[in-house]
């Protein structure tokens, strides 16, 4: 029995195993140009159209560091509550491959630009801190295309030299669920900072997943396997489940785990060996003599610190304090920067007499449902924050009922129409004139004398019948609260 609800354990006969996971996330730096050249980084261009002489490693070409990418890495480091190293060094990681034009990747090995930090995860049963080991800058390689021709491999160098941040976590993660929350949180922080767009489909965020297992309660780490280059959260989770179970089975059968690099086959849902430790590359890292050590001043770092926007954790705290949201509601609203922006705009546009609770319900309810069904992001919402704010105010001040509001909401989706206008044009304004409603109710009671008597004799269920009749007679526009009051009085 685990006291911790989200604890992820693998059980075999008498043994329970826990899973130890560490991630190396490769996040593409949001930047117009590459890490060491001025070529564009735009996604989806024709092959080999965004390649400079530097990217293609022509003789005599030299790398020149892109200052913007350095700033992005430092900002990300700040967002990860991490130590910024004022001196870092670019190293060459040497290996041969057709899509690696230089024959080495420029990376940071011994002296990364960002040191230790942490990320806070909101798990169902509380918060969990995950340690960050380091963050370093490196170049991406090009792309080898093997399936265009049976004889030849094609190489596209558009991606060659694009800046990546490798964010290495400590082995602090314990379940596929935590991995999912961790990736989402990293993505969220970087999107708040504008340092990585987090687009996993376009490969802006990929991870190498290190997995090991050990008997629950043991202090020693088991031998780990590294699953290379997994590009979706779902696949990461599947890969971890498969790999952890594979390792447990091996141990249960009395075998040992070989340290190796593995690949996740998304079709077969299994990991398989790519190379063993003995076959591991000797990358022959050494400081790149074409680049001087990267030195940044306190001033430079402080300037970047002062430009850091409010990040998800702080925003969440503020939403709870300022708007009295529950931690759960706050979490939903801050997890994505565009959602947070939308919510805050709705709040601002609602003006003085605002109903935050109502706004939260409408955003997380109706709006999210629409976005989900249309499979679009909130940034593409068919209803602007301003118009949603107007709609909520119409409910709040009694102009329309919540039920009518849903009809108005449907109509607003067609071209982001102003709800005020819809209400006027369609005559959907709520009837709140007590005299008119009294007349309407008098008529209903008159027409249904027998039921009125039955009600008075104690058949209280019939109250709903009269409410329904009144609403029907008003075309749904009657103020339900007033109807209730008048009916109670008259019956």
């Amino acid at each position: 029995m685990s006291k911790n609800k989200s604890e992820y354990l693998i059980s075999r006969k008498d043994n329970q195993y826990e899973v130890i996971i560490g991630l190396e996330v490769h996040a593409q730096v949001t930047s117009e140009s590459k890490l060491f050249s001025t070529s564009s980084t735009k996604f989806g261009a024709e092959p080999n159209t965004q390649v400079s002489l530097v990217d293609a490693a022509f003789p005599g070409m030299l790398p020149v560091i892109n200052e913007f990418c350095v700033k992005q890495a430092i900002k990300t480091g700040i967002g990860l509550n991490a130590k910024i190293n004022k001196r870092s060094v670019f190293d060459r990681k040497n290996y041969f491959y057709a899509d690696l034009p230089q024959g080495y990747q420029i990376s940071q090995f011994k002296d990364p630009i960002v040191g230790e930090g942490n990320v806070i995860l909101d798990m169902p049963d509380g918060q969990k801190e995950v340690g960050i080991e380091r963050l370093h800058l490196e170049q991406d390689a090009g792309k080898s295309i093997h399936d265009l021709d049976p004889q030849n491999t094609f190489v596209d160098l558009n991606r060659s030299g694009v800046a990546l941040m490798e964010i290495v976590s400590k082995p602090d993660l314990r379940s596929p669920e935590e991995v999912s929350v961790y990736i989402k949180k990293l993505r969220s922080i970087m999107r708040y900072l504008g340092t990585c767009d987090g687009n996993m489909q376009e490969g802006s965020l990929r991870a190498d997943v290190n997995v090991s297992v050990r008997i629950k309660g043991s202090k020693d780490l088991g031998t780990r396997c590294e699953i290379k280059n997994v590009n979706s959260i779902k696949f990461m989770q599947m890969a971890i489940e498969y790999e952890a179970n594979r390792q447990v089975d091996l141990i249960e059968e009395g075998n040992s785990i070989d340290q190796e690099t593995r690949l996740f086959d998304t079709k077969k849902n299994e990991t398989r060996s790519m190379r063993s430790k003995e076959d591991a590359h000797d990358y022959r890292y050494f400081p790149d003599p074409d680049l001087l050590p990267l030195e940044v001043s306190d001033e430079f770092i402080n300037k970047l610190k002062s430009d850091i926007p409010e990040l998800p954790d702080d925003k969440k705290k503020r939403f709870i304090d300022e708007f009295k949201l529950s931690p759960y509601e706050a979490n939903i609203l801050v997890s994505d920067i565009d959602t947070a922006k939308y919510f805050e705009e709705v709040v601002a546009k609602m003006g003085k007499n605002k109903d935050i609770k109502l706004a939260v319900n409408w955003i997380t309810g109706e709006l999210f449902a629409v976005l989900n069904s249309k499979n679009i992001e909130i940034s593409q919402s068919p209803i602007s924050a301003k118009n949603l704010a107007i709609l909520i105010n119409l409910i709040k001040n009694g102009t329309i009922s919540g039920k009518i509001a849903k009809t108005v909401f449907e109509l607003m989706m067609d071209g982001n129409k102003d709800p005020q206008k819809i209400v006027e044009e369609k005559g959907l304004k709520q009837q709140s004139d007590p005299k008119a409603l009294e007349a309407l109710i008098d008529k209903i009671i008159n027409d249904n004398r027998e039921k009125a008597v039955e009600y008075k004799q104690g058949k209280e269920k019939l109250f709903g019948f009269f409410v329904g009749q009144a609403m029907k007679a008003s075309g749904g526009k009657a103020n339900p609260q007033l109807i209730n009051e008048i009916l109670k009085k008259k019956l």
Partner: protein, 485 residues
Amino acid sequence: MSDITKQSLSELVKNIKNKKVSSEEITKEFVNRSEKSKELNAYITEDYSSALDKAKKFDQKPNLDLKLPGIPIAVKDLFCTKDIQTTAGSKILNNFVPTYESTVTQNIWNEGAILLGKLNCDEFAMGSSNETSFFGNVQNPIDKNLVPGGSSGGSASAVAGQLTPITIGTDTGGSIRQPASFTGTVGLKPTYGSCSRYGIVAFASSLDQAGPMAQNVKDCALLQEVISTYDSKDSTSINFKRNEYSKELTNNIKNKKIGIPKEYRVDGMPKEIEDLWQKGINYAKDCGAEIIDISLPHTSYALPTYYIVAPAEASSNLARYDGVKYGFRAKGENLIDMYEKTRSEGFGAEVQRRIMIGTYVLSSGYYDAYYLKAQKVRKLIKNDFDEAYKKVDAILTPSTPSAAFKIGEKKDDPVSMYLNDIFTVPVNLAGLPGISIPAGHDSKGYPLGLQIIGKAFDEQNILNIAYAMEEKINFKNKITDWWIK
């Protein structure tokens, strides 16, 4: 004017400015002499007809305010030249035509110079005799079957043989100064960071430096003035105040303190080198300089350090020559096979040797013992110079431990070949400027050079010392034109 090719750069510039001679006339003379000098094998690529066209064009609208107005110049084939084949002396780059121009060559074209052709060199600048070039040996104009030194052997031969009035070479461990010394010419290796490395085929990035080679110190100063610019395209280029070296050149070196490092008196040093050095000391004294004995205690570690650092960087720098993108490609069964065949066939023996040394010293398990240790020793070598420069303004040494040797004499003995660089290598490791000037002859009549080493960015000072000593030495190069039939 039939003696055009015998004129120094300064004379040619003066004559062209005074309209005594046209760019076309000058260019024609150098082209003619170059064509008659094929036996020297100084050129890899000739660009004569295009040079003559450019010269004609220059004469139509001569801009005489330029520093190299209409002057034809051949350059080492390590500089990438736009639309002109650039080989680095290697089969692997045979037929490679860059679409871009190196900063250093662009600087000379901007001052009105005209490209004559690309000069032979050791493959990827790895060699001390120009015998590792895929394009064959270069002959020293001093004598038949004599090496011109290396790696800028074609450059030294072309200047000494008057195929080009001046040239630019590159120097990673002595590749300008040693061939200058072997051919009786002047060669300057500037401070690391003085000349941009952009567009120069890399050998060892932390050591490579382009520099001028000329018939005399003044020409050398003028060319240095042109090629040394700050360049944001090279992250190791340094933005310092650059002198107008030729204008500020002076032979007044009175009271300059010149250091004589005792550690350069190496075991087995030939007496004639010893004598030359003493002669140099006397000349310096004659010029009014003060001679001070100094110590550079880590000198003996310089050569082994160099032969770890340079191959390490080279092994990585040359990884890009893989047959995938440009240059030579051998057919292979698969990617790995193609790599292996391309690189085995495309690189010569010396380059392969250095790639293997470099790969070895960077390998895990050996990195600390070799590369890391070499970096530490390199720092100590630099510290030696820093200490010395608290006492002296410059240092005087022989350029090489011997005069030029015969082609083939040391080809199969890499260690004895490497020893050629014993006096020049520490300067590269410390990133300092060094100049070699011809100072005498050995018993066979072959030229011998003296090296003056300066403080970082103090090119002006060593040029001045060289200029003053040049006057006193009054060296005459013995060029017999033996190769011209």
